[in-house]
């Protein structure tokens, strides 16, 4: 994790947030004197990697790091053992086991501590007491790391359970974390004057935020607000978009390989340099960090994949041309000029080769018959074609035992576009799925119904929504897009249309549509002292055009896809948009990860081992 410059390139300097977290973390660590070993909950290492590097921890006497496991702690002679963990019961059990084993071993005396991220919970403490280890713990700290800055305009909490907890189990703990992180953001960037939102969870978050502000009792930082609007959207306001196959560059990378904490692990074969012999080719997956500090990636990520090829080849040509300049360089100063450009050129060339390889990998996938057929099927559904009967393609997929998540995605899309499925059709699908993939998936299907992803036919809202929000756009320009619909090649994400209307001309123009979508519509204004109010730029101000661009923080509760992020970035770049967007979410999702979270976890069975 080298430079973090990319975080400060946006309208909002997210390095401030990162620094804030670093300070908090170090404060936590410095409470324990002496040498330390950190024991990590696996799910936290990724996010922590984005805010602190090992050398920084080392400066604060962290000598060792272990993963938390049942096997107990490896021997060490540090003075402090610090468990860094999420408040989850099974992790508490592991910690208790570790502590009891340590007691047993005796030896060098140590002190034990826990840092809960982001917050301790009643149940966990109860669990620790029941296990009889609560007293062994010295410090029990909370470290409120929740919104992790990913890029100059993107933050994620990386909590994949959020959707399931909110919509399936009605557990709003994550919403509390969201409200808390929004308070942190307001602490750093000033109170956000205008709040709008849609959905039950959004209402929840806004209520908590306003209450927390009241509790502060005016003890808030006196900063001119850097964020003008806050827009909070529930995922269940738009359950269609994440189910569709994303067609942007990073969307496809995520769908195919999975991006976690801004990095992706890819099969190594494509990245073997020609000098290496095939025998010592790496078998380990190649890890690549994806963020805007890689200039080329910054340009490519939001493009429709159909436009990536031409862009890459164009880049390749310019770079070759620039390298060729050295032949033309005759004078010493020309040579010097060339040499000064060299590091940058070399870096570009390297990143070009990486992205060419990634693009090749993606192309293998997008050219496959399975992908194209499934895409065709999705397009038919969103256009409302033959959604009311059993689809033969879906049937064939089940017959071929294609991955369950693919089948479920298609059925859920069909269900949404048909405003719910007829009982006969739904029962038929259920039957086929259960018979083919195992009876246990009865629970999965029930979960999908509960979360609203799968429904029995209800009121016919979709055609109205589709029409009034212009979700289907026939003429798409994938190379030089003129509308957000390019991210799904012809479908404009509903959620982002809402954001678009929010900025201009305002939600009042689409009240009818909003009423068709689930959950309440929220509108709040937070009063701020007159002195802190942003001055409407006067005509004489030279920066008027820059100042006029408003910053909107869009929060997606329950996850957002890369394609939606791309669409928002596209809106931010529009000259007439007048709004810059910063995006925050509980987790960056794709259709598969969304469905995975509500699926019944079965031990992985090879569908047909015989």
């Amino acid at each position: 994790m080298g430079s973090t410059g990319h975080l400060s390139n946006g309208k909002l300097n997210l390095n401030l947030l990162r620094d804030y977290y670093r300070r908090e973390l170090l404060e936590c660590l410095d409470k324990c004197l002496g040498s330390k070993a950190l024991v990590w909950d696996d799910a936290l290492t990724g996010p922590f990697g984005l805010i602190a590097e090992y050398s920084l921890l080392k400066e604060h006497e962290v000598e060792k790091m272990f993963p938390l496991s049942d096997k107990g702690l490896p021997p060490s002679n540090v003075q402090n053992i610090i468990f860094v963990t999420r408040p989850k019961l099974h992790l508490m059990e592991q910690i208790a086991q570790n502590l009891l084993q340590e007691e047993h071993k005796g030896g060098f005396r140590k002190e034990y501590h826990i840092i809960f991220v982001p917050r301790k919970s009643l149940l966990c403490e109860k669990k620790l007491k029941e296990s009889g280890v609560y007293g062994t713990l010295h410090y029990i700290e909370e470290f409120n790391l929740s919104m992790i800055p990913f890029d100059s305009d993107l933050m994620s909490m990386e909590m994949e359970g959020a959707f399931k907890e909110c919509y399936l189990e009605n557990d709003y703990t994550t919403m509390f974390y969201v409200a808390q992180s929004l308070m942190t953001l307001q602490f750093l960037y000033g109170i956000i004057p205008n709040i709008q939102g849609k959905g039950d969870c959004a209402k929840n978050v806004v209520d908590m935020m306003l209450r927390m502000r009241r509790e502060l009792g005016g003890r808030e930082p006196q900063i001119t607000p850097q964020i003008d609007n806050l827009l909070i959207l529930d995922r269940n306001v738009d359950l269609l978009t994440p189910l569709l196959s994303q067609l942007t560059y990073d969307g496809l990378i995520d769908e195919i390989f999975g991006i976690n904490n801004t990095s992706v692990k890819l099969p190594p074969e494509k990245f073997v340099s020609s000098s290496q012999s095939p025998e010592d080719a790496p078998t380990e997956k190649k890890k690549i960090i994806l963020n805007s500090s890689d200039e080329l990636y910054g340009e490519l990520r939001d493009k429709n994949f159909n436009a990536v090829g031409s862009l890459v080849s164009k880049k390749a040509k310019t770079i070759t041309a620039e390298f060729d300049e050295r032949h033309a360089a005759k004078t010493v100063s020309e040579m010097k000029h060339f040499v000064s450009k060299l590091p940058h050129l070399q870096q570009m060339r390297q990143s070009l080769s990486i992205h060419t390889s990634i693009a090749e990998l993606i192309k293998e996938h997008t050219d496959s018959e399975e992908f194209l057929d499934s895409l065709r099927c999705q397009q038919e559904f969103i256009n409302g074609l033959d959604t009311d009967k059993v689809n033969t393609y879906v049937e064939d997929c089940i017959g071929k035992m294609e991955p369950l998540d693919k089948v479920l995605r298609l059925i859920c899309i069909q269900s949404y576009c048909n405003n719910g499925l007829k009982t006969k059709v739904l029962d038929y699908y259920k039957r086929e799925i259960i018979q083919t993939y195992g009876y246990e998936h009865l629970v999965t299907l029930m979960n999908l119904e509960k979360a609203g992803l799968l429904r029995q036919s209800g009121q016919r809202h979709y055609p109205t929504i589709r029409k009034s929000l212009k979700l289907i756009v026939d003429e798409v320009n994938e190379q030089n897009p003129n509308d957000i619909s390019y991210v799904y090649s012809g479908y404009a994400p509903l959620s982002i249309r809402l954001a678009q209307y929010h900025a201009r001309p305002g939600w009042r123009s689409i009240t009818e549509v909003l009423n068709l979508l689930p959950g309440p519509t929220i509108e709040e204004i937070q009063q701020i002292p007159v002195a802190l109010r942003k001055r409407r730029s006067s005509i004489t101000s030279s920066h008027s055009s820059v100042m006029d661009q408003k910053v909107t923080l869009v929060v997606f509760l329950g996850g957002v896809t890369f394609a939606e992020i791309a669409a928002l970035r596209f809106l931010a770049q529009q000259d007439d948009g007048g709004t810059d967007y910063v995006i925050a979410t509980t987790k960056i999702i794709s259709g598969s990860t969304l469905l995975d979270s509500v699926m019944e976890k079965l031990s992985p069975v090879h569908l047909n081992p015989f």
Binding site: E103, R119, K126, G132, G135, G399, R431, Y439, V443, M446
Partner: protein, 551 residues
């Protein structure tokens, strides 16, 4: 300040002594409600058991889990609010001597301890030196705590064990506690304050809320601020302190509270389930308890669907197949059959049970037959057991190993199709794949032959011949077989595309000739390997004068 200090010391004294007389004392207190008294009486009985426990285990290092969890089963039940209130203060460095008390004095004196404690928290915190270290060894604990308080715990131990000197102490204790309680009650906390403290992680106490109205106010306040942690804590407090019938009634009126209670029970259940796999008998019992409660709550709330699914989940988590079959049948009877809304699901659960009942004897016979060296299994060894496999996989298995079995046998594919009402499509998909892998080409022909009018036969495929070819290609059927079925694909363009995909040159050439596309044929022929049948056919066709090529 000094007076406060003294009080705090008094309090500590009380804590130590109270252990002797705890239950008696509590019962005498006029503030103890009927429910409380009942609980106390119950736990007193249990407590004596633990006292024995203590004697047996000299060093509870070795058996900490069992003894502690057992005790917590009771204390957790009797006084969860204290458990929830203490961590907040315990997390402060200054109050590090609190946990030892908590874990050590497993009695319900805790709950009173808390009542008294909270009001004095600030002072008691200061009276403690922060260097105290909690250790698991009992002896160490005493010696360590003794350094922090005027009267050492060790001194107290004799009186703790011998009950002869108890009566006088008891009197004092009662007096003291009455005073403390009175004081605590005078210090009225508003529900708002308490909830705020809970959220901010400051020490708080729920015991000061005595009337039902106050407690409910507290709950409503917690719901209002959407804080899950606080809501759960208050609910658990309510569960302990008001009648179950009232508890259920009030819960029903508050859907948000229900959700939190359910997710608490669920978290416990899931976790216990996890624990169960580690073979903790005790937690199995507890899991069972929590599970029952979860089921009961769902039933009470008329969430029959959820309750049914929960039971189903429990049934399928049974480790052995026999147990699973019984559990499924039981759960079907109890939760699915009588629910009209769950008719479809009931049918599926019924099928699940039926499938297991079929798999069980098949597995039994086949594993024996395999062990005896049946040539079929030697030729195609079974990779895994058929148990717990999905229905379609089971069908495939039966088609593969028992394709010719009579319909009255369990292994007959037809019987499976019939019992589970599988569609023709599903059946053909599966049977075709199995037969193709076994290279039973005649079998495939049978499968795809339908009797027409007047005894004539024709080839029919419910899944379309393109799919048939796909399966044949996947199982690497020989070219002549593949060609045979390729020719049955309707639509020459489609046939051409699929034949090209599977590189069936003969069919491609035939189709091109049929389409009279000379140009394409020439192009295609140029790519064919010399001497191949396809090339010869193509050349013949190109030379032929009878074909009227398209112009």
């Amino acid at each position: 300040m000094s007076s406060l200090r003294r009080e705090s010391q008094d309090e500590e004294e009380y804590w130590m002594k109270s252990r002797v007389n705890k239950s008696k004392f509590n019962l005498f207190d006029d503030n103890v409600t009927v429910e409380n008294a009942e609980e106390l009486a119950k736990s007193k009985k249990l407590l004596t058991q633990f006292e024995d426990d203590d004697v047996d285990t000299v060093n509870w290092d070795d058996t900490p889990v069992s003894s502690v969890t057992e005790s917590s089963a009771i204390s957790g039940h009797v006084v969860p609010p204290s458990a929830s209130s203490l961590p907040k203060s315990a997390s402060r460095p200054e109050s590090r001597n609190v946990p030892p008390y908590m874990t050590h004095s497993r009695s319900q004196s805790e709950s009173f301890g808390v009542t008294g404690r909270v009001s004095f928290t600030p002072s008691s915190l200061e009276s403690v030196t922060p260097t105290v270290q909690y250790s698991k060894s009992q002896e160490k604990l005493h010696s360590l705590t003794s350094s922090s308080s005027a009267r050492s715990l060790e001194d107290e131990i004799p009186s703790f064990i011998s009950t002869s000197s108890g009566s006088k102490n008891l009197e004092e204790e009662i007096q003291y506690l009455k005073r403390a309680l009175k004081k605590a009650r005078e210090l009225k906390f508003s529900p708002e304050d308490t909830i705020r403290k809970m959220i901010l992680g400051e020490p708080y106490s729920l015991e000061v809320f005595r009337s039902k109205e106050e407690k409910l106010q507290l709950l409503d306040k917690a719901i209002q601020v959407h804080d899950g942690n606080a809501i759960t804590a208050v609910i658990l407090f309510l569960r302990q302190t008001i009648k179950p019938s009232l508890f259920n009634l009030e819960l029903q009126r508050r859907p948000v509270a229900i959700n939190h209670y359910l997710s608490y029970l669920r978290a416990h259940y899931d976790f216990k389930e996890l624990d169960m796999s580690l073979n903790h008998n005790l937690s199995y019992l507890k899991a069972h308890y929590d599970f029952k409660e979860l089921g009961d709550v769902l039933g009470m709330l008329n969430r029959t669907e959820e309750a049914a699914i929960l039971k189903y989940k429990q049934a399928i988590s049974a480790p052995d197949v026999r147990g699973k079959m019984n559990a499924l049948r039981g759960c079907l009877k109890a939760h699915f059959i009588h629910e009209p809304d769950l008719a479809h699901e009931a049918n599926l659960v019924e099928q699940h049970a039926a499938l297991l009942e079929r798999q069980w004897p098949i597995e039994d016979t086949d594993s024996k037959s395999e062990a005896q060296g049946n040539p079929l299994f030697r030729q195609f060894p079974r990779k895994v057991s058929i148990l717990n496999m999905p229905l379609i996989t089971t069908l495939y298995y039966c088609c593969f190993y028992h394709g010719r079995d009579a319909e009255n046998l369990l292994t007959s594919p037809f019987a499976i199709k019939k019992q589970h009402q599988l569609s023709d499509k599903q059946y053909v998909w599966t049977a075709l794949s199995a037969r193709s892998r076994l290279k039973q080409w005649t079998g495939i022909e049978e499968l795809l032959t339908a009797k027409g009018w007047f005894g004539s036969t024709k080839k029919v495929s419910v899944i379309g011949f393109d799919k048939v070819c796909e399966i044949l290609h996947r199982t690497s059927a020989p070219e002549e077989i593949l060609s045979k079925y390729l020719r049955m694909i309707d639509g020459s363009e489609r046939r051409l595309n699929i034949a090209r995909k599977y590189k069936c040159h003969e069919v491609v050439v035939e189709t091109l000739v049929y389409l009279r596309d000379r140009h394409e044929l020439q192009v295609y022929a140029s790519k064919l390997p010399p001497g191949s049948l396809g090339l010869r056919n193509a050349q013949d066709a190109l030379r032929s004068s009878t074909i009227k090529w398209k112009t």
